[in-house]
Assembly symmetry: C2
Homo-oligomer: 552 residues x 2
């Protein structure tokens, strides 16, 4: 039975599953949610239905899994919500990025064409497919050699994860598939095509992942210099009208209506990226509001009315988060995964038994022990580069460091130093924005780590500013739902919808001034390490020795 309340559905396509969230338009209330795990998960070992072993660093997905989310999670969330599907007025989506696939003129993935099932390059390359590093290296070297203006919009380095590196790998390793594809399309846009029946290209992935800057992609001359056969890549496989975020991509097709159980013809919003859409869910749509999505890694996104080529950011895209504003992205390649690495490997059996008998997880156990010690009493400083440094150094050959250990140093102290190192890394990013003329007025945390009070308090103390916390556990899906509401015309723009439907707990953590003073001193040491090892040769050389010897 139809009611006066209207709803939108946000669908968040993650690395291992898709989540549908049904949200009330009037106030952003999260009514119901449903998750569908991808049957093929991440394809990194053997190609499905074959015995073909993938090389190292490959990561593929199956596009059928994306459609299955529509067929399963959406009906499930409708059923769980107990609302009338006719009250749903729009759908919004977000996706991992850069997750990109080759498709035909009508959007059919090449991997679904007969005869191409056994060809790895026919499949979507997931964001974490890292086998195109040599291609990225060539792109970067050439861009600097030619003085391409766009390279500094990306901290001086294009990632191997992005569209051009992955496409160049495709061209050179399987030219037949390259020739066969009509579009090299982000999964973020492909899923919109499945929902609406038409291809709409979003500005977010175009800007952050496809080097679309100031109305243009890299030139044909540049591409030809990489490989003559690559010269027409943009013209033939990439170019397509660009749609703004929050705009209407199209209307739900009859087929998609059948899959989802939603009314045919409802509004589908332009596609988006999980991190960027989270800003909208956290009411961070105004200049200077930085959102840190903190999980295994951290992604920082921020809207600003100021432009500057901030050193070491991942990207600056005009309209890339909300229209008519600069959208900045920065990142820390390792955060929660560094904590997890330490806990998995370097905590002794006695602690393990004590945590078990106390009935708490090891992160909690170590945090509780560490929290009893005065700040700075461990005498340690660490660099948070166990997974490299994304911002501000853009260098994945860097590695971790810890200094100050004595024979009295305990696991909880090293754990705390590692947590602190990631907070110092965040501060370095914030400081770099500010010294580059792009003020950071608010620091808003989202992602899995916001539940960890120990970590959050350290961030407040080290950043020496309040930490605001997103008020939703489903940030990306809520952000996508907000986009749906805007596209459906329920709000005049993203900012207005975000204020009403987004969720933020302001000042959730306040800096402790006694700790702040200690951390100022430790941060100076962190910066010394940052300069010494970030700009020195040592870590690169250690990595080279390691890789040479490990290959034996």
């Amino acid at each position: 039975m139809s009611s006066s309340q209207k709803y939108v559905i946000g669908i968040d396509y993650g690395t291992l599953s898709g989540r549908a969230l049904l949200v009330r338009v009037s106030d952003g209330a999260e009514i119901a949610t449903a998750v569908y795990e991808y049957p093929h998960a991440v394809i990194e070992d053997v190609l499905p239905g074959t015995t073909l072993k993938l090389p190292p660093d490959w990561a593929l997905q199956s596009p059928t899994d994306y459609v299955e989310v529509l067929k399963n999670a959406v009906p499930a969330v409708l059923a769980a919500s107990n609302i009338d599907p006719r009250d749903v007025i729009g759908i919004g989506t977000d996706f991992t990025a850069c997750t990109v696939l080759p498709v035909t003129k009508d959007g059919t993935p090449i991997c679904e064409l007969s005869g191409f099932e056994g060809r790895p390059h026919a499949y979507p390359k997931l964001w974490k497919h890292h086998a195109a590093q040599p291609h990225a290296d060539r792109i970067n070297a050439l861009a600097h050699a030619r003085g391409e203006s766009w390279i500094n919009r990306y901290g001086g380095k294009i990632s191997s994860e992005w569209e051009f590196a992955k496409a160049l790998q495709l061209l050179e390793e399987d030219p037949e598939i390259y020739a066969r594809m009509d579009h090299w399309i982000e999964a973020a846009d492909w899923i919109i095509w499945q929902l609406t029946g038409t291809y709409t290209k979003n500005i977010c992935t175009a800007g952050y992942k496809a080097i679309y800057q100031d109305g243009a992609y890299p030139s044909s001359e540049f591409l030809a210099a990489l490989n003559p056969a690559f010269a027409d890549f943009v013209a033939e496989k990439v170019e397509h009208p660009i749609a703004e975020l929050g705009a209407v991509a199209g209307h739900l097709s009859k087929e998609a209506a059948t899959w989802t159980g939603l009314p045919e013809g409802i509004i589908v919003a332009v596609g988006n990226v999980d991190a960027h859409v989270t800003a909208v869910a956290a009411q961070a749509t105004h200049s200077g509001q930085m959102v840190a999505i903190m999980g295994t890694s951290t992604c920082h996104v921020m809207v600003s009315d100021k432009f500057s080529e901030v050193p070491g950011m991942c990207g600056a895209v005009f309209g890339g988060i909300v229209p008519e504003q600069w959208g900045y992205e920065a990142g820390q390649s390792g955060v929660g995964d560094i904590f997890a690495w330490f806990v998995k490997n370097f905590v002794n059996a006695e602690y393990e038994a004590a945590a078990k008998s106390a009935g708490v997880g090891m992160h909690t156990f170590l945090s509780d022990l560490a929290a009893k010690n005065p700040t700075g009493s461990h005498g340690l400083v660490a660099l948070d580069w166990e997974s490299g440094n994304r911002s501000t150094l853009v260098d994945h050959q860097l590695s971790g460091l810890i200094v100050g250990m004595t024979l009295a140093t305990k696991p909880e102290e090293v754990y705390q130093a590692i947590v602190e190192s990631t907070a110092f890394g965040a501060r370095k990013i914030v400081d770099t924005f500010e010294t580059s003329g792009v003020p950071v007025t608010d620091f808003i945390a989202a992602g899995g780590l916001i539940k960890n009070n120990f970590v959050m308090q350290i961030y407040a103390d080290i950043l020496n500013r309040p930490i605001h916390i997103i008020g939703s556990e489903q940030g990306p899906a809520l952000g996508s739902a907000i986009h749906a509401a805007v596209a459906a015309g329920a709000y005049p723009d993203i900012q207005a919808a975000s204020q009403v439907m987004g969720r933020l707990v302001r000042n959730a953590f306040q800096p402790n001034q006694e700790s702040v003073a200690v951390y100022e001193a430790l941060y100076r040491h962190y910066l010394f390490l940052y300069e010494t090892f970030g700009n020195g040769d040592m870590m690169h050389d250690l990595r080279a020795i390691r890789d040479r010897k490990a290959a034996l």
Copy 2:
């Protein structure tokens, strides 16, 4: 029943026990051994028979324990050996140092005088009594300010463990005891007094621990500048004829004969120090033969016909190891205790369970895992300063560092990097001797770590020279027995006795040239860290922050 074979007894006074070793004079065969644990062990909490709590960093012993070793371990070793005591021709001893006590004119320890039992300063101060650091700091500052020539014989720093620092503490904290004592005597010499009834002062502790250089102690002017009441310290409490190593200290007294069950009147050799006497047991009595006594820490001793003020050594004493040669001592403050610290704290429960089920200790378990990996494949370099740096920096405020970790780094890799760091530390010491004009021709390992093949091979690879291994498990006691044989006239000198009675396995470990090449590269990085952090302010500042905060 008396036989044609003659024997000597070496007695090694360690930190927790005394060991007697009965050795055949003709070939050094170790016939029997017996250990006696000191009933009072190390007194660091409460003074015996009182409720008096000792301050932090204090470490005392009871002199009665030393005599009990004579009364128990010597009869036990005689009984176990089944030889005729009349075939024992001499006794030699070695002691921890600097372990020092205040005694009266007749050698009675002040703590044994009625009325002094409850006074901490009346007791022997064990080598690891570290409460005289402020006094050592004053000595060092004044020595440099006055340009005292002797300070550079000790790497530019007198240790808080040594005689002058401990005596200055005694003077200033309990002047009555200071006034009451007639001699400030090394336990190494006090035990000889107990055996012979006469006070004989050995050159080894006089040189290494009492700043006796070029025939003189620090001047009265120097001492007066420290404290006017200290001006006559040398003249009144220290000065005494100096006896050479391997010389006769005296003859076994009637009383000591009763204690030990040995014939009255047999030869007692001049006292000695555990580390230095080990060189003799390892046949390392010739110029350039460095002996590393590797245990929780490492002590390096070497005889040389060359003299140089090698930077950062612990001491250079003419005749300090064998007569008529320079004796050098250097050290690494943390070695085995760093391995133990890592294993105790930073190895996970899964490894613990696997080691247990394999029935091996954790050191073996980690070593076996690490040994499977090619050298350098961990990509790590560490500084071995968890317990400070004794040589070449002489700085106990330094701390540990490890660099190169990634999310793939495993405990066995960090363990190996820590082992390597101590070997790099050893190489730095060897290189410093050589570049100072004091060649190191042989590297001989002694001490508890020689049983660890993994550690020894890494030392061979990093030093890029063969590692020779002492052939006795009782190096100090064997060395003392050799001194007894020399003093008893069975050999013309220490060198001759050492060649016959000492034990050495030459070339026990040979460098693996493939590893050598990798370690050359890693050693350059170690040296970069050594310079950067050894000469920088960072570790000192981290320590200062730690100590300030930990005191809260």
